[in-house]
Symmetry: C2
């Protein structure tokens, strides 16, 4: 079959790879209908050292079950399913606590198994990992349902860990697909004041439709000042950091209110966090982390199925599998917000 | 009157200073009965640059009201009171939320007014700050009641912010007075497994009496391994970091369970926190900060008054006001755990 591999910065290729097969009795095989390119795929795309050995890419996909191992129950060939971006048995103590990203039998697509940007995927721990979707292959909801694999639950996780509720003011840092998903999630959790920090007007316009009440296009100190102006000098109770770069986390601490929470879901491209004596005196909490998407899918699914929420609006370009390299380029060059892949 | 000033590292003096007077209608004057030396007093004692101008010291005290300003109600001359280590109006929005350390009219003893290590103190925002104690000047409970000004609520804050409850396992890092208070607070909140990391046997022995179930005397990687051994390799749900030095916070992240919380109340002597990609993937939260002692005094008071808790056992040396410099030396040299001052 055909699948996507990365060989180094800027070097994404679609190649022939062996067809996946059932290897464990807990596996399933899934034919991919929709996949996509993640903001986190851009980190290796920008900086990975060249290698002779390609790495399989993609961790967001939705597809049709083709076969299941002998120990998989509740799933059958023909079922339409979505996969969270890490697999999990969904029965261990961490999974039971809603932390499927720390599952004792879990793993990450691409690194530990097939990637999602291909024609098919071997899914380990299929029974715990896959969630059936009550729609057909031709449903117009598929793009929004695909966001349940990563980007929407990631925004939701950010808001949940921050403790967003109707009484908390919110700043969202970043107008990428995760930031916009965080806006949508914060609004869904009842936040009435959501300040979106982002400088791409087409994206922040979508952010307003998702629920942002204010947009701050300025960055750095100017941006901080603007948020302070909007909040009587105090900052907001919660800050959702959806970028992962050092200036973003610095801004987060500068715009959070005393006693407030900074929640981060942008994979941190920095080893240290500036939580100094001042942050200590202000009792600011830093939370967040990689989102256990599996924990949230059932909760978020109804709002997507009935059309109340349309997180799939973050997709503004669709490519075929062979065009995936062009999809990476378009996202890296900020021509596209998020790229949908239809193998 | 006589009061304590610091002029530089190792240079603490007791000198004549002007008697305090009422300056604002919201002030009170308090004659100090008991004060003490805080672990945080040792930071300037160890590193402050020499200065011609002394700084007033002490932020923990308990005493008798001598006079009150015209706008102070509910307090009268003769009342025995304890003061939290920062003053607050106790009516602003931050105070109402229980964050009196960020009070809009608050301040810090020594820096913004008299210090507590003296014969008397002018107390700003007296009505919001002072808490009446229903005991006499000769009560044997005074040392334990004095801990309500800082060290016990600080340990309590650490445990509360970490979310300690009967289902959480706990590691306490540090066997100083704050660490031992954190053990006492964690036990009070129902924790059944409390691992105390500390290497001074007399202190960790008191820690066991306060509720520690395990003691780890090893430090660094060895200490981390030991905690992992004790917890099946997982670490504990919560880690209470009661030191404030870089190795302590590093240990904290190494012994916390995935999805867990590190709570810090040791004033951080480091500008950056090592919360890297690994910490992110493990969904570890960092919380804590300076303790709003005022928020907790009423809650903790009954257990102290009825003798259920004896946080005053952290005091293992008593000095007169003139002997305060010797008290600093004894604590800095770890001869004393915590020094009580009786002016």
């Amino acid at each position: 079959m055909r699948a996507t591999l990365i060989y180094g910065a800027g070097d994404v290729r679609v190649e022939d790879v062996p067809d996946p097969t059932l290897q464990e009795p807990t596996d399933a095989l899934v034919r991919v209908l929709h996949a996509c390119v993640c903001g986190s795929d851009l980190w290796p795309y920008r900086s990975m050292a060249a290698s002779d050995q390609g790495s399989r890419m993609g961790h967001e996909f939705l597809g049709v079950v083709e076969d299941v191992g002998s120990e998989v129950s509740g799933l059958n060939a023909g079922d339409l399913v979505v996969a969270p971006f890490m697999w999990a048995d969904n029965t261990c103590d961490f999974c039971t606590e809603g932390l499927q990203t720390s599952c004792r039998h879990g793993g990450l697509w691409g690194r530990d198994s097939d990637g999602g940007q291909g024609e098919a995927v071997r899914v380990p721990q299929a029974q715990g990992t896959l969630v059936k979707l009550p729609v057909g292959e031709d449903s117009a909801l598929l793009p929004s349902l695909l966001t349940l694999s990563d980007v929407f639950p990631t925004g939701h996780h950010c808001a949940v860990k921050a403790g967003v509720n109707p009484r908390t003011t919110v700043t969202v840092i970043g107008d990428g697909a995760v930031g916009l998903s965080a806006v949508l999630a914060a609004r869904r959790l009842g936040a009435e004041r959501i300040i979106l920090m982002g400088r791409h007007k087409d994206r922040t316009d979508l952010g307003r439709e998702f629920g942002a009440t204010d947009v701050v296009a300025e960055r750095g100190e100017e941006g901080v000042e603007k948020v302070h102006e909007l909040t009587g000098g105090d900052g907001t109770h919660t800050v959702l950091e959806c970028v992962g770069l050092r200036p973003a986390i610095e801004t987060a601490f500068a715009v959070v209110r005393d006693g407030g929470v900074v929640s981060r879901v942008g994979a941190p491209q920095y080893p240290e966090v500036p939580m100094d004596f001042d942050v200590f005196m202000r009792n600011v909490t830093l939370t967040g982390g990689v989102a256990p998407a599996r924990a949230y899918i059932e909760e978020l699914l109804p709002d997507v199925l009935d059309g109340t929420l349309q997180p799939g609006r973050v997709f503004d370009r669709t490519v075929s599998l062979e065009e995936v390299p062009e999809g990476y380029r378009a996202m890296a060059d900020r021509e596209a917000l998020k790229v949908l892949v239809r193998p």
